[in-house]
């Protein structure tokens, strides 16, 4: 029994030391992998990155891969105001306000704001957009000096009360015509 206990303690300690040695060796290997880059030994002379904006090989938006997720753009003419993008956005970066328009089948999207300070460019909003009005562009330079300039607005704007009343009247007429037709 004592011999068994001693053997198991010894093997536990030995296993611990072995794991420790392997970890230290792994760390040392990692450190000595990066050291040649510090001293530019061998063929490790050039940096893997470029200075931005690099005048020699500057990349434009057209050079980017086809599925690049750049700044968002919403084609408001195609947008139906369904709010699926607002619902699915994980950071609540999209704010939409809609109201009934002249047509019963289409909403007036008065506000469609995207806060790029919150947006993480995950692309979920473009995936759920059925009319495909919300898309990623290839623009990536979105820095601003003021936080308010990071909010992009694509809405059609607020309507006046008069316009709202006209539209309500138009919708009532349409409902009557459709009801009379049936």
């Amino acid at each position: 029994m004592n011999a068994t206990v001693s053997a198991s303690v010894f093997s536990a300690v030995w296993a611990f030391c072995l794991r420790l040695w392997r970890a230290l060796r792994s760390i040392a290997l990692a450190c000595f992998t990066t050291l040649p880059y510090l001293f530019r030994w061998g063929d490790r002379r050039r940096e893997a990155t470029e200075q931005y904006p690099d005048p020699i090989s500057s990349r434009t938006a057209e050079d980017l891969p086809p599925r690049t997720r750049g700044l968002l753009f919403n084609d408001i003419d195609r947008c139906t105001g369904c709010r699926e993008c607002e619902r699915i956005c994980p950071t609540r970066a999209i704010h939409i306000n809609t109201e009934p328009g002249a047509n019963n089948n289409k909403l007036w999207v008065s506000t469609f704001d995207i806060d790029f300070a919150r947006c993480i460019f995950c692309g979920l909003c473009t995936e759920v957009c059925e009319p495909a009005s919300l898309t990623h562009t290839r623009q990536f330079e979105g820095a601003a000096y003021d936080r308010r300039d990071l909010v992009a607005g694509f809405g059609r704007g607020q309507v006046t009360e008069e316009q709202r009343a006209k539209w309500a009247a138009l919708r009532r007429m349409t409902d009557l015509e459709e009801g009379g037709g049936e």
Binding site: F16, I27, A30, C31, T34, Y37, L38, E47, T91, R92
Partner: protein, 361 residues
């Protein structure tokens, strides 16, 4: 008070200031010199070399725009931070965050910069870096709680968990060093060693003190949430983690506080294990006999800071060559690897010391 004059007090007395006035004036003056003449330039230097070294190791371009070779990059970063809009208009939050950073600097008087710099040397001096580390951790926890979101709260709690688990092996290593030096004051640790690396604490009572040094350094990085153990502070959780609240001036204050505690920890490691501020014996005797106390203070400062910077750059080398560790991996490391090794170092050092005492009474 340490009981002996620091170099500022001597300088004032030599300048004709009455002894009592010199004693009282020397403390605030020495603190100001330590903060503006040592800590701030160190922060600048370390910020530049950390980015430069990190970029070179990772085959990146690195800072090269602000000044020749990017030397002015830390200044450019600081000016940029001052101009950035704050994320949350929280005046109350900003005020206590300033207070938090100032609280960190309450341990400046015991910063081990040299024998003539210690304003308050005592047996408790080695415990004050732990105080600063816990103040830093609690401050970061409160920043996370202020975030008002689950990622912020969880991030803050993770941070504290990591710090608490790392504090135990660090404290045990300090005990191991104390077992070697038979005392816990900075002067005792320094006098126990000399300029020659062969007499440094890390090589004494071999291999136990070397183990203690390694464990102390690694557990310190985990305690301070420094790289490569800075996942809790470095990551940006969805909708804001712990540090995502901080930007602009707030971030500058917070990062300066983090650097100060990191510097204090590294200097502690240098004094405990790497010979401290000890000069070559001949040089020390010459400076003492010629009464060149300012030169002595400057040389000791250069030695301790030089060693400290080398350790810092070594930490940067390892941190930039490895990915960040996950917080649960760090707590695992602290409990299952660092703590047992620290205990081995303590028991081994104490036993070794006893045997040495018995053999050579």
């Amino acid at each position: 008070m340490s009981g002996s004059m620091n170099w500022v007090e001597r300088l004032l007395q030599d300048g004709g200031v009455p002894p009592v006035a010199a004693e009282w004036l020397s403390i605030p003056l020495a603190l100001l010199i330590a903060i503006f003449g040592v800590i701030l330039p160190s922060a600048y230097w370390y910020s530049f070399w950390r980015r430069k070294l990190g970029a070179d190791l990772q085959a990146r371009v690195g800072p090269n725009r602000a000044g020749a070779f990017g030397v002015l990059q830390p200044l450019s970063d600081f000016l940029k931070l001052l101009q950035k809009m704050p994320q949350v208009a929280s005046r109350t939050g900003a005020r206590w965050r300033r207070l938090h950073t100032l609280a960190l600097f309450s341990s400046v008087a015991t910063l081990p910069l040299g024998s003539a710099w210690l304003l308050a040397g005592s047996e408790l001096g080695v415990l004050l870096p732990f105080w600063s580390a816990f103040v830093l951790t609690m401050g970061a926890l409160l920043v996370g709680l202020e975030r008002g979101s689950v990622p912020g709260w969880m991030g803050g709690i993770r941070l504290v968990a990591q710090a608490v688990t790392a504090a135990f092996p660090a404290l045990v290593c300090v005990l191991a060093a104390g077992a070697r030096s038979s005392g816990f004051s900075w002067k005792q640790f320094a006098l126990d060693q000399s300029f020659s690396p062969l007499s440094w604490g890390a090589l004494g009572l071999f291999p136990f003190q070397l183990i203690a040094f390694g464990v102390f350094l690694i557990s310190g990085l985990a305690l301070l949430n420094a790289e490569p153990f800075d996942t809790a502070l470095g990551e940006r959780d969805l909708q804001g983690g712990v540090a995502s609240l901080l930007s602009g001036e707030d971030l500058a204050w917070f990062e300066f506080g983090r650097f100060y505690v990191f510097l204090h920890w590294i200097l502690m490691a240098v004094v405990l294990f790497l010979g401290g501020w000890q000069l070559p014996a001949a040089l020390h005797e010459w400076a003492t006999s010629e009464d060149r106390y300012i030169l002595l203070a400057a040389m000791e400062l250069a030695v301790v800071l030089g060693k400290g910077f080398l350790v810092m750059l070594g930490v940067t080398w390892v941190a930039r060559s490895l990915p960040r560790l996950r917080v649960d991996h760090v707590t695992d490391l602290s409990w299952r690897v660092l703590s047992p090794l620290a205990l081995v170092a303590l028991i081994g050092s104490a036993a070794f010391h006893l045997v040495q005492g018995a053999v050579h009474p």
